[in-house]
Structures are given as C-alpha cells and as structure tokens.
Amino acid sequence: MTLQRPLRHYLEAYAFLGLLLVAALFFSLWPETGETFTSAANLRTLVSSNSVIAIVALAALVPLVCYEFDLSVGAIAGLSSVFVATALAGGTAVPLAIALGIGLGLLVGCVNALLITRVGVNAVITTLGVSIVLAGVVNQKTGGISVTGDIPLGFSEFGSSNWLGVPKIAYVLALVALAVYYLLEHTPYGRYLYAFGSNREAARLVGIRTKLTLGMTFLISGALCGAAGILQVARAGSADPKVGETFTLPALAAAFLSAAAIKPGRYNVAGTLVAIFFLAVLNNGLNLAGSPEYVSNYVNGVALIVGVALAVRLGRRQEV
C-alpha cells in the first residue's frame, strides 16, 4: 500500500523473473553444484531439453487464454514424434516428414476443435479423451518400443548442435515464442481471445465469431505440438512412445504460471517462458546437488500451486 504504484506494479511483473535469476545465481555459487551447473554442456542441455517443453507450453497457452484447457498437447507431440521418426527411418525426405508432423498436429487439433465447437463436448473431456486415443495410436504404431532406426544425420545434428554457442533448438523456440506473442498481443485475433476468455457471451455480442475463434486455438495448439514432436526427434535422435505424456503436465503448469509473471493476472508468452525456465533451473540444480527424484516432484507441485495462488492474488489486487 505504501509503495508507489509504478514500483509495486514493477515488482509484481518481474518478481518471478527475479526468482529465476536468484535460483540460477544460487546454483552457480553453491559449491555443491556451482561447477557443473555453470558448465556450458549443462546449460545447453538445460536449454535444449526445455525448449521442446516450452513449445508445448506455448501451444497450451493459446486455448488457455480462452480459459479452455488442452490436455492433449503432450499426446499430440508424442504422436508427431513417433510418426516423424518412423517416416524418417523409412527414408522419407526431411521436409516431407516435417510437413507430416505438423499436419498430424493440425489434424488432431481440428478434431478437438470440431468436437468442442460443433458437437459441444467440454474441452477438458474432449482433449482428455483424444489424448487417451492418441496414446493407443502411438502404442499400436510402435508396440511400445522406441523408434530408433536411421534418422538422417543432418536432422539429428540440428537437434544437438549449436549456433553462436546456443543450441539451435533454442532459436526455434525463440521464433515460435515470437510468433505466439505476435498473435496474442499484436493481432485483432489475439485481442478477441482475451475477450473470449473474459466473457464469452459478451464476446459473441460484440461480433466476435466465437466458434471460429475458439476452434482456431485448438488448431494452433495442435500445429505447435506437432512442431514440438519433430524437434523432440531431432534432439533425441529417436522417438520414445512415452515421451509425449511427460510433456503435458509441466507444459500446462507453465502456461498456468504465466499469469504470475510479466503481465500479472493474464496468461502470456513471456510469463510462460519464465515459468518453464524457472522450473527447469530448479530441477536441474537439485538434480546436480544429488537430491532424490521425489524432491523435484515436491518442488514442481508446490511451485505450481504457489505461483497460481500468487497470480490469483495479483489479479484480485488489480481491482483498484
């Protein structure tokens, strides 16, 4: 209350980013982890492995702005990675395989969109159902075994090499983040999404074509997840049929947490990235310190709840 408004606003917006820096600084200076944490190899792994999850989180962010949950994000990324890896191993040209991955994402997104906007099934239920079906598709395709085979060298090299010292995958993330940021903040469509999220009946009454607007978010989400699946193949050089499922929760958590950073009270792109890398640094540091795996479960779960609670409070405090 006593703080000047601009200062308080500044604190609210950047507190989470500050936490990320503090965590990074802590693990750099702590003798237990300092040496390994700051090593180029560790930082690159950290960035490249989380870039894929970050893209999945950005995918989940788009429907979330409309207050709709896409629980199928991880499953779509998994589907894409398995089919792309199989195609590449079977000798399909790289551009064609990329088109296949994104096309599959679009296709599933389209199914989600039609079920939600035309049939009127609740989005949580639709995407949960679709993700279970996709898990079945992936299992049928792979028999539960990783797709290894001959992934073209250039392709997997892209996933593991650097440009100017930074993993190439991180550049893809930057491009995707920029595109989603542009979409949400600088196009009428983005403005309509936020309006839709705030009051969908009122959105319809100001002339927003609500079914189209909402349906498109699932298409965009699907396409981005398809792209994330392709990058996962490039990074790992193979496709693990289980990898998709492990993306869903951290990605959704980061998308939720985005409302606690940069633009308090609003789901946003920069906040999503801060959240992803905050959790990544925390987990990486604890890992290096040799803490058992359950500790990271505790940390992730608590961070999600605390972060969202914080966002709710920030949103309420805005009620000047």
């Binding site: 903040e185 600088h186 705030s198 009454l205 002339g207 009270g265 009620e319």
Partner: protein
C-alpha cells in the same frame, strides 16, 4: 418494549440500530471512502444516495465484510465492533442482511435450494435434507413476496427481475415480524421493471412499518421520494448531507448529490426524416411475433412492455443473437439476412444488452480494451495494433462520455456500475451505427450521466441514425421517444405517437390484461 414503542423511539432518533463511524477505504490512489458515517434507526428506510462512483457500494461492501474497510467502527444494536475486522459471517451474526448488486444467487439451483441456502437446510435422520419441508417453506416465501415462480424451477430459467426478487426474499425470509436486524439493499431495482419496483417498494414500506431498519442504496430519486424516511448523501467518498428527502425538492436533492445543478433535461426528440431505415415484416423468434416494425432515420422509437412481453427478444433477434424464425429485415430498403452479431454489425447495427454483467462487460480486460473491442480491426495497421492511437481514442471517449476511471489500463471491474454502462455505450456509439438497439441504456446510471446518455443518443439520431430503445421506465420512454410501440405477449398491443406520450399512458397499455 413492544415493537410499536421501538418503532416510535426509532422515529424520534433515539435508537440507532446500525451506526457506522469514520469508515475509510482506499483503492490504490483513489480514496473511495473518506471518514463516512451513517446512522440508521429502527423502522426507518434510510436511503444511501449518490452518483456513480460516490462510494455507495463500497460502503455496503465494507459493512458486509466483503471488502473490508481500512478504518472505521461499526455498531449494531449497541454492540461495537471494528469495521476493518468484519467478515461476512460476523455481519450476519450481528443481524445484517444484504442483497448485493452482483448476482448472489445460484442460477443452476432451484428456487427452493436458493432460498434454503440462505437459512440452512432442515435435515432429518442421517443428515438427509427434508426436501418436502424445504419446498413447502419455499412456496410460502414465494407467496409472501408475491413472486410468480415454481419452487422447483431452476433460478436461471427465471427472468432477471424475478431472480432479484428471490435474492431479496432470501435475505428477508426469516425477518418477518422479527424487526431485529438491518436489511441492506444495494440497488435492488436496477433490473426490475416498473410494476415490480412498485411491488418491492410496497413490501419495503410494510417491513419498515413493522419496525425493520432498511438501508436502501440507490441513485434513483423517484424511489427515494417513494420510500425513504431519511437519506445520507455521498459524493466522492464523503458524506455531503443527511436529509429528510421529503423536505427537499428534486432539484435541491440533485444539486446536493451531484455537487452542481443539473439543468432540467429538455424533452429530447428526434426529427423523423421520412425515409425508412429499418423495416421488419412478420418478425418471429421464440414467443415473439409476428411483429411488423418501421423506424425512420432520425427517429427514436421506444419499446415498452413487461418482462416477457418480447421486448428484449425483439432486439436480440434483430441483432442476430437469437435466430429469427420468420420474417424479413430490410435496412435502408435492402433485404438483410442477419444470422450473427457480426452480420448485424456489418449491416450497421449496434446493440447494448440489458444484462451488462452477463452480456457486455469484460471484467478482466482494461477499460481501453473494453472500449475498442468493436473496432479492433481499425487499429490493425501494417500488421501491428496501434496501441498509442487506441489509448488516445480511449481518453477522448472518457471525455465525451464522462467516464470516470483511474486509467485507460485499469481493469473494467474496477469501475462503478454506471461508468461500466457508459463504457459499453461508448463502445457502440463510437462505431457511428445506423441503427441503435438499446436495451435499458441508462441502467445503473446516475442523473447527470443519464442526461448525457440521452444527449448522446439524440446526437447519433440527429446525425441520421435510428434508435430502438427498450426501457422499463415509462418516464424515460416518454421523455426521449418520438413514438412508443407497446408489446404484450409477443405482439404489438398499441402504438403511441408523440402526442399520447405520457408515462401513465404507456403504463396503462403495457399493464392491461392480456385477455382484454
């Protein structure tokens, strides 16, 4: 002491049943309440009167413990408490009963359940809810409050007016004869049509006569004159007077409330130019129709009728919110097929809905974004949204629509109800629509702003637009319309021309028994 004795003591000012002293509350840089005191006596309807954003609702929320005050003291029936420490539970314990401005009922639950939630369920063996008893009790409450609804109906299926009445009934259901507590009503008539307002005011007078203390928040002077024994006037978060309204005339009260004189609003009239702008033939939607309709450029046509007469349905069907089952719409002579609000907007229509909270406000978006949502594509230039121009235009609209907001970037929900309504109007009028469809355009708007809104409608019409105005205030229709169409049971019951436009006349036709 008998109730009667209490009652008399209250009238002489001896027994304040509710007293608030030095209530203060700041929201950021805005001092919403600044040392406000309020003294309410038994058997008295005490109006809390003030313009938009004067702090009326904030005070009620502070007393209710919904948004605790920063400082102040509360005394109910001689028990003194710190106002900052009031919680909703404590307020209820102390005997304060509230009906807030926002929806506090549960649209998905039945009327019985809504009423029972206010007082707790009667349970039988094993915690089983005694549904039969609850239903019987609900039916009795509904009968007592003259609410025409079945106890088993989901509340959301009732009209907004009936829903408000159920909320009031819920707060009052255990109060009859008790006269112990205080009933605090925050603009309870905001969405009630005139006949039901009368019903409600009658009921309030009845309760006051039985010794009930009532705090009545409003900005409608007619209601203050009709029901209030005393009034505390608020302006900019301060008490500017405590008066007996019946001792003051209308202008003096307005001047006290607004801090300046409001010139008598001239009877505004459009000048019909003769060319028909909107023509509807055989329009039917839901229970509406068939209705024929013709509106000329430069004309303001009122639509009167009770809730359920089809007046809102007509506007919604014209705007493409509800599908037209039959009929054709011509705009400027051209046949238009309107299937969605987007189609309607493209045809030059604008629609301000009746239920702002449900249909028009984007509470989390900024005031600026709320203003620009109808014209977003205009700001999209070379692949970017021109935020600077958007901001500048928003400030311009603040000026021309007298919107009071802390900033363009402030969320809409931080504005008072009247200011939100002005934002919604500004959002549509800025498009310079050819045809304005306005459903209760001045709901929740104070006297001064109301005159401004009439003026804005008038300007739009003078520039060649046509307006269809639905209002449950017949005085409003009589004042601004060139012509009033009265709907009853979905069809046109009468059409009154300028010469016949008197509020009582409209009321008589609208209220006439449908059988007649």
């Amino acid at each position: 002491m008998s109730d009667e004795a209490d009652h008399r003591a209250g009238r002489t000012g001896a027994v304040p049943v509710l007293e608030v002293r030095g209530a203060s509350k700041a929201f950021g840089a805005t001092q919403a309440l600044d040392g406000v005191s309020l003294r309410v006596e038994r058997g008295c309807v005490h109006a809390l009167l003030g313009g938009n954003g004067s702090g009326k609702s904030t005070l009620i929320k502070a007393i209710a413990g919904v948004e605790p005050a920063d400082a102040g003291e509360l005394e109910v029936r001689g028990v003194r408490q710190n106002l900052c420490a009031i919680s909703p539970a404590r307020a209820r314990e102390a005997g304060l009963h509230f009906v807030h401005q926002q929806r506090s009922t549960f649209p998905d639950l039945t009327v019985t359940e809504n009423l029972a939630i206010g007082r707790g369920f009667d349970t039988g063996v094993g915690g089983r809810v005694e549904w039969r008893q609850a239903r019987r009790r609900a039916a009795a409450v509904l009968a007592r409050f003259e609410i025409d609804a079945d106890p088993g109906t989901e509340l959301g299926r009732l009209g907004p007016a009936t829903q408000t009445m159920v909320a009031i009934a819920r707060a009052l259901q255990d109060q009859d004869g008790a006269a112990e507590g205080v009933l605090l009503l925050d603009e309870p008539t905001a969405s009630l049509p005139a006949p039901e307002v009368t019903l409600l005011l009658d009921a309030l007078r009845r309760y006051a006569a039985a010794g009930q203390a009532i705090v009545y928040v409003t900005h409608r002077l007619e209601e203050v004159y009709a029901v209030a024994d005393r009034a505390t006037l608020l302006r900019d978060g301060r008490v500017v007077g405590e008066v007996e309204p019946r001792q003051l005339d209308h202008d003096a009260l307005v001047e006290l409330m607004m801090g300046r004189t409001v010139e008598q609003i001239e009877r505004l009239r459009g000048r019909p130019e003769g060319s028909t702008l909107l023509r509807g033939r055989g329009l039917a939607a839901g229970t509406l129709g068939p209705v024929d309709l013709e509106v000329c450029a430069g004309e303001i046509v009122g639509i009167a009728g009770l809730i359920g007469s089809g007046r809102s349905t007509l506007l919604r069907a014209l705007f493409g919110v509800l599908p037209l089952q039959a009929g054709e719409v011509r705009i400027g002579g051209e046949l238009h097929r309107i299937d969605s609000p987007a189609d309607a907007m493209a045809a030059g229509l604008a629609y301000v809905p009746e239920d702002r909270q449900r249909d028009a406000s984007f509470p989390d978006l900024s005031v600026g974004e709320n203003l620009s949502l109808t014209v977003v594509p205009d700001y999209w230039h070379r692949g970017l949204l021109n935020r600077r121009r958007e901001h500048r235009d928003a400030l311009g609209l603040f000026d021309s629509f007298l919107i009071t907001a802390e900033a363009v970037a402030a969320p809409l929900r931080s504005l008072s109800g009247g200011n939100q309504q002005k934002v919604v109007l500004a959002r549509w009028l800025r498009r310079r629509p050819r045809i304005l469809l306005l459903d209760e355009p001045t709901q929740g708007v104070d006297v001064a702003a109301r005159a401004e809104i009439y003026e804005l409608i008038h300007q739009a019409v003078a520039a060649g637009a046509a307006a269809l105005v639905v209002s449950s205030e017949f005085e409003e229709l009589a004042r601004i319309c060139d012509r009033v169409i009265v709907l009853r049971k979905g069809v046109v019951a009468a059409e009154l021309s300028a010469a016949d436009l008197e509020a009582e006349g409209i009321a008589k036709v609208a209220n006439a028994k449908a059988a007649a």
